[in-house]
């Protein structure tokens, strides 16, 4: 394995973390969008607010991580993607700005007049980012991004069947992941009604995501042949792992069980992402730029790996410390209930 492959692996780790945690976060926005005005829907929104608040910033950092590694180590690919896919990436960024503002303000805004407006804004933005990120991935997979400054078509590159179905798949997958996570959160909160509520939604989302994935394979067969061949070739074991994990989650939820659903759901998504990576290896941009062609010079690649190693050594223990502290505070939250009578109201 070359240094460039190792850095591409690091890039994929970042993309995986963003897809799993960011995807679940954005997916939660879909559920609050669909939660309606009923008392149950209101409680569902409260649960989402409670569950994703503490982890949001971490999700955000994975995205920055992916961007930085891409422009440092594969600058031509970065420039080609960002310029050809200017429109969907601008819309994805818009979603991130709105969603990020939601994070910055939501605890205060809960008591403001504009709260409902802010919530709707956040919910809609939760659809924007995963959908348009999906079209970006679909456009890359179907070879619509040639090397160069805005060398591809600004519109048709991402409005073909493959990009659109990939966008839909991203939205459905995020919704599925977050529903599975929220089942666990509801159980942690001791609310059996919401546990059933989100289990039903997880099942529904799983079926929809599965259907989109099958349709997507057919479309990839026609429009993204290189990646399709990889998915049913070298990457087939990973695709099978993903299907098995997905079916496992379905079985668990169907039987009303909970244990194991979360790791299996994560496994299903991770396997697909790495399946995609294997399928388009050795290409960064299928058929126009390989990893070794697009890679930066050796000193830069090595520096990126060193910085990544330092990040792991510095950041993971700090995150662990923070996690311990927050869990402690969650456990003690019960006695603070009187201090915040308005709560998530």
């Amino acid at each position: 394995m070359s240094t460039a492959d190792a850095v591409a692996g690091v890039l994929w780790i970042g993309a995986t973390l963003y897809a799993v945690f960011g995807g679940a976060d954005f997916g939660a926005g879909l559920w609050t969008l669909l939660s309606g005005t009923s008392e149950r829907g209101r409680r569902a929104r409260g649960l989402v607010d409670w569950a994703i608040g503490p982890v949001w910033e971490a999700n955000h950092v994975w995205l920055i991580f992916v961007l930085v590694v891409l422009w440092t180590s594969f600058p031509d690919a970065f420039a080609s993607v960002m310029s050809t896919l200017f429109i969907p990436l601008s819309l994805a960024a818009l979603g991130i700005v709105l969603r990020g503002s939601g994070f910055a303000f939501h605890k205060q805004a809960r008591r403001l007049r504009y709260r409902r407006f802010a919530e709707h804004l956040f919910d809609v933005s939760s659809l924007l980012t995963p959908f348009f990120m999906g079209t970006v991935v679909g456009a890359i997979a179907s070879g619509e991004v040639p090397v160069g400054n805005a060398a591809g078509d600004p519109v048709s590159s991402w409005t073909g069947a493959a990009p659109l179905i990939t966008g839909a798949l991203f939205v459905a997958t995020g919704a599925y992941l977050s529903a599975v996570f929220l089942v666990s959160d509801a159980r942690r909160a001791g609310d059996q009604d919401l546990e059933r509520y989100f289990a039903a939604r997880a099942l529904g989302a799983a079926v929809v995501a599965g259907a989109i994935a099958i349709a997507g394979l057919a479309i990839y067969h026609a429009d993204a042949r290189y990646v399709y061949d990889g998915l049913v070739g070298d990457a087939l074991p990973l695709v099978i792992v993903s299907v098995v994990c997905g079916a496992g989650v379905l079985a668990i939820l169907w039987r009303g069980g909970r244990r194991g659903a979360r790791p299996l759901a994560i496994g299903a998504v991770v396997a697909v992402i790495w399946g995609w990576g294997v399928a388009q290896h050795p290409y960064l941009l299928p058929k126009s730029l390989t990893i070794s062609q697009g890679a930066a010079g050796q000193p830069t690649l090595e520096a990126t790996l060193i910085v990544f190693a330092i990040a792991v050594v510095v950041v993971l223990p700090s995150l662990g410390f923070l996690y311990t502290l927050t869990q402690r505070s969650v456990l003690e939250e019960g006695d603070s209930a009187h201090r915040h009578p308005t709560g998530s109201g």
């Binding site: 048709s156 001791g190 923070l322 502290l325 209930a337």
Partner: protein
């Protein structure tokens, strides 16, 4: 389908250079205020924390707790505007990134570690108010301050590199070869540009916090809480202001040396000459400066400590290699220096009163001056940033790559620029409204009633609430 086909043509308005530069300038000019506070606010908070613990001072501790929560809100908004910038590198300047991403990009990877560390420890610190003992809690705040400075170094060093590029050689086809990353990370402009920006962050934050408490005191809230809230940040800023003046003076001389055309634009020097007049304000024209206050020979003296010093003029390079908006650049530079001088005067005023009577000056004019100082510090920050960025034009990488060659080939940047204007207006307003709400709630209800990003006291899970 008609629209989809014609959209690119409709959106293509000649070159994207003007909207791309406007959008970058606007979003960066917005972010720089939040970034400055992200760098320096944690230090103010820790100083208050230290005083609180050392003197067993409840007022100081309360200030530290409130400031940590304000810092969290500002940090979260800054994370958003910072992410926008990382998109913009690619969306607006793909040719720049394609060619030099592998040269200076690593600085942003390093910045990423500092940013993440700062976010995590800020969260730990905020959680720690109720979960950790006094000094242990204090020490969890130290990484926030260190990471803030480290992050500022990384980002500003990237900008320094654009001003004084080095550490690489270009092959005959223009591609980069033989890279020396140490010379990128410690490039020639780092020694003056990085300290200048970090000090600016501390000055902006110090004067801005102090100005909030000065307004409170002018409205009659003259308790100890307000006095401390004014004195801690104001003392820090007043001590640093003269240091900043010296660093800025060094920077200006280094720019005269290494980016002489930028310097000529800042000072409106038309012809290369000795005994060059220093103009304070005035309009820059082809025939020299009209109006303004001229001090003969002083510009030469400032550059080389002698009026015989030769100062390079704008006409040393063809018109296409000169920065635009000369008069604006000149006014920005003079305004920055003027505000810096006024800050030093404010510091001397405070020092005099403190030496005589161990108190802040008793006249309301002092509080009024402090109340204005926050906005003035931001104005100085923006002026300095304009001088750095517009003064480097037409280059994105000084002498190596022109901005017009870096810009995206995609169309529609004026749409994203318009969107950025609208969204950031709302974002800025919301930030100010939220901070005002927090402050009002603190006045009315005390500490427990304010929740912030990164902080505990999330809403209870629904079941707990229902029980």
């Amino acid at each position: 389908m008609g629209l989809a086909e014609h959209l690119p043509t409709l959106l293509a308005v000649s070159s994207e250079l003007a909207p791309a530069r406007s959008q970058m300038a606007f979003t960066l000019g917005f972010h720089i205020i939040l970034a400055a506070m992200g760098v320096a606010f944690p230090a103010m908070m820790l100083i208050a924390n230290y005083i609180g613990l050392r003197r067993n001072d409840g007022d100081a501790l309360r200030l530290a707790e409130r400031w940590s929560k304000v810092a969290a809100v500002l940090f979260a908004v800054g994370a958003v505007t910072g992410t926008v910038l990382s998109f913009e590198f690619g969306l607006l300047w793909p040719e720049f990134m394609a060619r030099f991403g592998d040269v200076f990009g690593i600085l942003f990877a390093i910045e990423g570690i500092f940013f993440f560390t700062e976010a995590i420890f800020l969260a730990i610190y905020i959680y720690g108010w109720k979960r950790l003992s006094g000094w242990a809690h204090f020490w969890t705040g130290v990484p926030v301050v260190v990471a803030g400075i480290g992050g500022a170094y990384s980002v500003v060093a990237a900008n320094s590199w654009m001003n004084r590029p080095g550490g690489f050689e270009l092959a005959s086809d223009g591609s980069v070869k033989s890279l020396d990353l140490w010379k990128v990370i410690f490039n020639g402009a780092v020694p003056y540009e990085v300290p200048h920006m970090i000090l600016a962050a501390y000055l902006v934050t110090g004067f801005l916090i102090a100005s909030v408490y000065a307004v409170g005191m002018l409205r009659g809230r003259r308790d100890r809480h307000h006095r401390l809230g004014l004195l801690i940040p104001l003392t820090v800023a007043c001590i640093l202001a003269p240091i900043q003046f010296a660093v800025g003076d060094t920077a200006a001389r280094a720019i005269a040396d290494h980016q002489p055309v930028k310097f000529a634009a800042m000072e409106c020097v038309r012809k290369t000459d000795t005994h060059v007049t220093e103009y304070i304000y005035g309009v820059c024209t082809d025939d020299g400066v009209k109006g303004g206050l001229g001090i003969p020979g002083f510009d030469s003296f400032l550059v080389g400590f002698s009026t015989d010093t030769k100062v390079t003029g704008l006409d040393s390079v063809p018109a296409s290699d000169r920065p635009p908006f000369n008069t604006m650049l000149h006014w920005c530079f003079d305004t920055m220096v003027g505000i810096g001088t006024a800050m030093i005067a404010l510091g001397l005023w405070l020092a005099w009163a403190w030496w005589r009577r161990r108190d802040i000056p008793s006249t309301p004019w002092f509080l009024r001056a402090v109340a204005v100082s926050g906005v003035a510090a931001i104005a100085a920050l923006e002026c300095g940033w304009i001088v750095t960025e517009v003064g480097r034009q037409p280059w994105i990488v000084q002498g190596v790559m022109r901005t017009e060659d870096a810009v995206t080939g995609a169309s529609g940047v004026w749409v994203t620029f318009a969107a950025a204007l609208g969204i950031y207006a709302v974002l800025g307003t919301a930030t100010v409204l939220i901070l005002r709400t927090m402050s009002r709630r603190w006045r009315e209800a005390g500490e427990g009633e304010v929740e912030v990003p990164y902080g505990p006291s999330e809403p209870e899970p629904p079941a707990v609430e229902a029980s």
